[in-house]
């Protein structure tokens, strides 16, 4: 039983990271209507920036996180301005390829800037603590709490403010958004900024429990794709729930089904769901 709860806890930790990444992806999906493959690279860059701030400038972890969020948000906006805003949003394939091009570039850039070796992010929260007989590190606890905090914040922003609602509106009708006076450029930039910031936050939270290296984004991005499909493309609650479901399915699956085929779980889950419900779990009834 203790094993079960320990694994639930482990699953929640990974699920938090998945959720944060999937959230950004699903937000940007609303604008691009294509999964943004470069999102994983933003995640990676976020971790590197935080690490650099911490090691090269000797700043505190939280300052590193903050600066990473800001810089990656900016980077994400630059990406939107230079590339995505110039592509026809009705044509998905060029957008996809452009995002792959950006992914190549950012990965290579990271290798150039920070080297290709694995690096470790050491935080002040490395201690282990026992909680009701379960083992957690402070960092993991931090991931859990911070993720929930960020999600609540985002939820409030999207539902309680007009600016947030504009993001949702734009994902449903671009021209409609124009006609009510939404500054599409600004909203689109804002969306990318939030998505980038979330990716950087997720990366900086997760990096201390793993490592920092140029291809680290690949670990989470595929899973995030699966999540936004399972949770419904463009759906915010879907991304959150989907992330936790997947995190949990993996840790419990590794325990009770097969450790070797753990990374299969996400994809088998997806294939099964789509086989039965070709439009995803949360398909909308409207035409």
């Amino acid at each position: 039983m203790e094993l079960f709860f320990q694994q639930i806890l482990n699953g929640l930790t990974v699920g938090s990271v998945y959720s944060l990444v999937a959230l950004g992806l699903t937000l940007v999906f609303g604008i691009l209507h294509v999964p943004n493959f470069a999102h994983g690279a933003l995640y990676m860059v976020g971790a590197y920036i935080a690490l650099t701030v911490m090691t090269a400038l000797g700043m505190h972890y939280w300052i590193g996180l903050l600066i990473a969020v800001l810089i990656v948000a900016l980077l994400s906006v630059v990406m939107e301005r230079l590339v995505f805003s110039r592509l026809d949003s009705k044509d998905p394939l060029p957008i996809m390829i452009a995002s792959i091009g950006i992914l190549f570039f950012l990965e290579s850039f990271a290798q150039y800037m920070w080297g290709s070796q694995y690096q470790r992010m050491v935080t002040p929260y490395g201690d282990t603590i026992q909680l009701f007989g379960l083992t957690v590190t402070m960092q993991r606890l931090l991931v859990l709490v911070a993720a929930v905090f960020l999600m609540v914040l985002l939820h409030l922003f999207l539902t309680r403010t007009m600016t947030g609602a504009a993001i949702v509106a734009m994902s449903q009708s671009r021209n409609g958004a124009f006609l009510v006076g939404i500054n599409a450029t600004r909203v689109s930039m804002l969306t990318f900024a939030i998505a980038g910031g979330l990716a950087a936050a997720a990366a900086t939270l997760a990096a201390p429990i793993n490592l920092v290296f140029p291809s680290m984004g690949n670990l989470v991005i595929m899973k995030a794709f699966v999540i936004i499909i399972i949770g419904g493309m463009g759906s915010i609650p879907g991304a959150i729930i989907g992330g936790y479901i997947l995190g949990m399915a993996e840790s419990l699956g590794a325990t009770y089904i097969s450790g070797d085929y753990k990374d299969l779980i996400a994809f088998v889950l997806l294939v099964l769901i789509l086989t039965m419900k070709p439009n995803g779990l949360f398909a909308k009834g409207v035409r």
């Binding site: 007009m162 600016t163 609602a165 504009a166 949702v168 509106a169 449903q172 009708s173 021209n175 409609g176 958004a177 124009f178 006609l179 009510v180 006076g181 939404i182 500054n183 599409a184 450029t185 909308k284 009834g285 409207v286 035409r287």
Partner: protein, 235 residues
């Protein structure tokens, strides 16, 4: 109020509008007639800043609208209710309406007042306020679209074929609402196929043919014009 001078617009190599001269005075309800593809929607899109004109001038209350973004045009008080409605289909009716108030989004009180006004105009929408816009029938969606445009507190309202695909009964209601809105001080430029009904509530009208304005005149002039009767009213 709205002045178009020698306005010319291209779609790619094709000239869709040619040297359009058109004015709308404050408080008027002006109708724009024209066959399919004559360029009515293009004209509206140009005024709204969605399409850039190649030549000519475009003034609203003395200020040029050329080069303004759609958002700036809306903020200036020129609001369009476009063909095809363009609702946020998965948002609720209420949220759709609220989005209409985007240009003054910080003023919560003004939003609430305006919302009340719109619900007064369209009592049918009150009970549907929490339904998603996509689930409404065509007529109700059209009401939401007009309501959303009114939420922007327009000085000038551009209505592009509001009766399209609506049942006769609803069309009737729609026109009386447009008339009412106009009476309350909103200037309206209305593009319509339903020429008779539109002209009946209008003050003046223009006829657009192949991208050029061919006829202009008062409601009476146009209603009595034989050619217009034949082409746009039928029978």
């Amino acid at each position: 109020m709205l002045v178009l001078k020698d306005l010319t617009v291209f779609h790619g190599p094709e000239r869709v509008l040619q040297s359009i001269n058109l004015t709308v005075e404050a408080g008027e309800l002006v109708v724009l007639l024209g066959a399919n593809g004559a360029g009515k929607s293009t004209l509206f899109h140009t005024v709204s800043g969605l399409v850039k004109p190649a030549e000519g001038q475009l003034h609203f209350n003395g200020k040029s609208l050329i080069g303004k973004s759609p958002a700036q045009v809306v903020a200036g008080g020129v609001v369009q209710c476009a063909e095809g409605r363009m609702l946020f289909s998965q948002m609720t009716v209420q949220d759709n309406l609220k989005m209409g108030a985007y240009s003054y989004k910080r003023n919560k009180k003004a939003i609430a007042t305006q919302l009340d006004y719109v619900y007064e105009l369209f009592p049918d929408l009150v009970q549907k306020r929490n339904a998603s816009a996509g689930s409404l029938s065509g007529g109700q969606q059209q009401m939401v679209a007009i309501g959303r445009a009114l939420m922007s507190k327009p000085k000038l309202l551009l209505l592009d074929e509001p009766s399209l695909g609506l049942a006769p009964l609803i069309v009737e209601q729609m026109f009386s609402i447009i008339k009412e809105v106009n009476k309350e001080g909103v200037t309206v430029l209305l593009a319509e196929q339903n020429a008779y009904a539109a002209l009946s509530i209008s003050t003046r009208g223009y006829v657009l043919e192949n991208g050029r304005l061919s006829v202009e005149g008062t409601k009476e002039d146009l209603l009595e014009n034989e050619e217009i009767r034949k082409a746009y009213i039928g029978a």
